[in-house]
């Protein structure tokens, strides 16, 4: 960002140091991942007798296939595959609904303010930051009365409700930064609420949609608290299943299977960051940071 035209030996040395630090940091961040991948390819004996940093002598995917389809997670021994599916069944609708809701709310709060809308925004913002422990017990009771206890749709509902504050905040702060003239001109031309949203606002929204979808996807996929409190045995998300698998003390500890299972559980969100991470950062620069 800052131009330095001349480069003296001192500056060259500084630059070298800079790269050295950055690469060292990268190694630190990667180390746990590397350790897990390497050890998921070993057998248990090799892990016990050898060194975590040693390369696998006879790499095998046995632990991965066991983690996926036959490892024991508490009461069942079908691997984490079924829970993987559960997570998708919860995450996809919850992300879609909470993002849509956030976009509509943000649109109103930024461009169709009315008396009380700012107060509502303040009340909602508060919801971003409450510790969920303070709503868990009533929520559990409510889901019970609605007949949604231990169901996937109950979890979707919970994630939509408590994700809405964040998605609304993202969209509102982004929309506040759009030029006002665009909207007022359209209003003068007689365009209505939904037409303006559909034709003008939505086409300008991709950066913030990307940020919101990535944020919600990771939040909900990685959720453990709601999963462990609200899902019954049949709808456990993958995070809860992983924790059960790691803490199942049934026979000897199978470190390699634990690591493979952890990697599998992390895979979807890691892929999202590797492929869409730059859009995420770009979206943050585009406005999510400014107001938040």
């Amino acid at each position: 960002m800052i131009n330095t035209h001349k480069s003296t030996p001192m500056q060259k040395l500084l630059r070298f140091g800079l790269y050295a630090i950055l690469i060292f940091m990268a190694f630190i961040y990667l180390m746990p991942l590397i350790v897990m991948v390497m050890n998921s390819l070993k057998d248990v004996e090799e892990i016990r007798s050898g060194n975590l940093l040693a390369l696998p002598q006879d790499p095998s995917l046995a632990a991965w296939s066991k983690a996926w389809s036959s490892a024991c997670t508490g009461s069942t021994c079908d691997g984490i595959a079924p829970f993987f599916l559960n997570s998708f069944k919860i995450v996809l609708p919850a992300v879609a609904i909470s993002t849509l809701l956030g976009a509509m709310n943000g649109y109103v709060l930024a461009m169709w303010r009315f008396k009380g809308s700012e107060l509502f925004f303040g009340l909602l913002l508060f919801g971003c930051f409450i510790p969920f422990q303070v709503v868990l017990i009533p929520m559990a009771m409510t889901l019970g009365w609605l007949g949604l206890a231990s169901s996937a749709s109950g979890l979707v509902l919970v994630h939509v409700i408590y994700g809405m504050a964040f998605t609304t905040l993202f969209f509102r702060n982004y929309y506040v930064g759009l030029p006002r003239e665009l909207i007022s001109a359209a209003k003068i031309d007689g365009a209505g609420f939904f037409l303006i949203f559909w034709r003008i606002v939505l086409p300008l929204s991709p950066p913030i949609i990307v940020v919101t979808v990535i944020w919600q996807f990771t939040q909900i996929w990685n959720d453990f608290l709601f999963g462990v409190v609200f899902s019954g045995v049949d709808n456990l998300p993958v995070t809860v299943a992983l924790n059960n698998l790691v803490n199942t003390s049934f026979g000897g500890k199978e470190y390699n299977v634990d690591m493979a299972a952890a990697l599998l559980a992390a895979l979807p969100t890691i892929l999202v960051y590797v492929f869409a991470g730059k859009y995420f950062v770009r979206g943050l620069s585009a406005g999510a940071v400014k107001g938040a």
Partner: protein, 296 residues
């Protein structure tokens, strides 16, 4: 047609309110209503099921005299303080370093950011092995020949809370870096060029122009990090299980254990309310400045 106009006009006028109405209802019930509900429960002697027999502040007294609660709040202060401080420091330093026209910036950024994509359960599982004395870092260093090396924080009830800090910083610092980097990219380039023409040095430019303009980013990073710290329930569950004993419990774990597994709903509700109080102490100044800033 003619007498339909006013109705459609009215509908058009109230459209924004109609769109917001469901969300308003949800917020009032599922946030504020539930908080009141939990507050009410915290004044009862509810155990496994709610019992509406009010006992005043008994549950709070019980909470304050509970050693496990004392340990968990102390842990939260140590863990939260260190976690937030280290993440902010690392985040800003790495963002400034990455902002020096680094080759392969995108690649490095992806590496720093990826832990953010991972759930605390996975992070906890990974670091559980790395910090395990007989399997992880201690063993590796001993294998290298340093046979006296000791790094047993995970099983040391005095030090275990620092294990939580290590794992949480590893996971969240990259995200803070991304926030700061986005903020740096948003700084007015013209101002920097003008300062350079005036002969300002790089450190001066950072101190006088760039860092002050990052103040809102500092603020939002602080709020997001304290939010993560307070809800770090899953990291404790996966990394330490609260142990040894309950030496690494955080308030969130205390609340879950009492409300959902130990049939102490009243006590759990009281601990939830105290957590809310702690959050409010941080949140109210933030909300105040957020709303005031918006009005200008």
């Amino acid at each position: 047609m003619a007498n339909k106009r006013p109705f459609t006009d009215m509908l058009a006028d109230s459209m924004p309110k109609l769109v917001l109405a469901p969300s308003f209802l949800i917020v009032m019930v599922c946030i504020y209503g539930y908080i009141l509900w939990t507050a009410a429960l915290s004044f009862t002697k509810s155990r496994m099921l709610p019992q509406w027999k009010f006992v005043g502040f008994d549950q709070y007294t019980k909470l304050m005299n509970n050693d496990r609660w004392a340990v968990s709040t102390e842990n939260l202060i140590i863990f939260g303080g260190l976690f937030i401080l280290i993440c902010l420091a690392l985040g800003i330093i790495m963002a400034i370093m990455l902002d020096q026209k680094i080759r392969q910036e995108g690649f490095l950024r992806t590496i720093y950011l990826y832990p953010m994509a991972i759930s605390f359960i996975v992070t906890g599982t990974a670091w559980k092995w790395l910090l395990n004395p007989s399997l992880g870092i201690q063993k590796i260093v001993r294998d290298w020949g340093f046979t006296d090396f000791t790094f047993d924080w995970l099983v040391n009830s005095q030090m275990v809370v620092f294990c939580l800090v290590i794992a949480a910083v590893w996971q969240s610092s990259g995200f803070v870096m991304a926030l700061f980097l986005a903020g740096l990219r948003g700084v007015d380039q013209e101002m920097i060029k003008a300062a350079q023409l005036d002969g300002a040095t790089l450190p001066t430019i950072y101190r006088r122009i760039i860092l002050p303009s990052l103040k809102p980013v500092f603020f939002s990073a602080f709020v997001i990090l304290s939010h993560i710290a307070i809800k770090s329930f899953d990291l404790v569950t996966a990394l330490t299980g609260g142990g040894p004993g309950y030496s690494s419990d955080l308030p969130a774990n205390f609340m879950y254990a009492h409300a959902f597994t130990r049939s102490q709903m009243g006590l759990g509700a009281a601990s939830g309310m105290v957590m809310l109080g702690g959050v409010l102490a941080i949140l109210i100044p933030y909300l105040y400045s957020e709303l005031r800033g918006k009005k200008q």
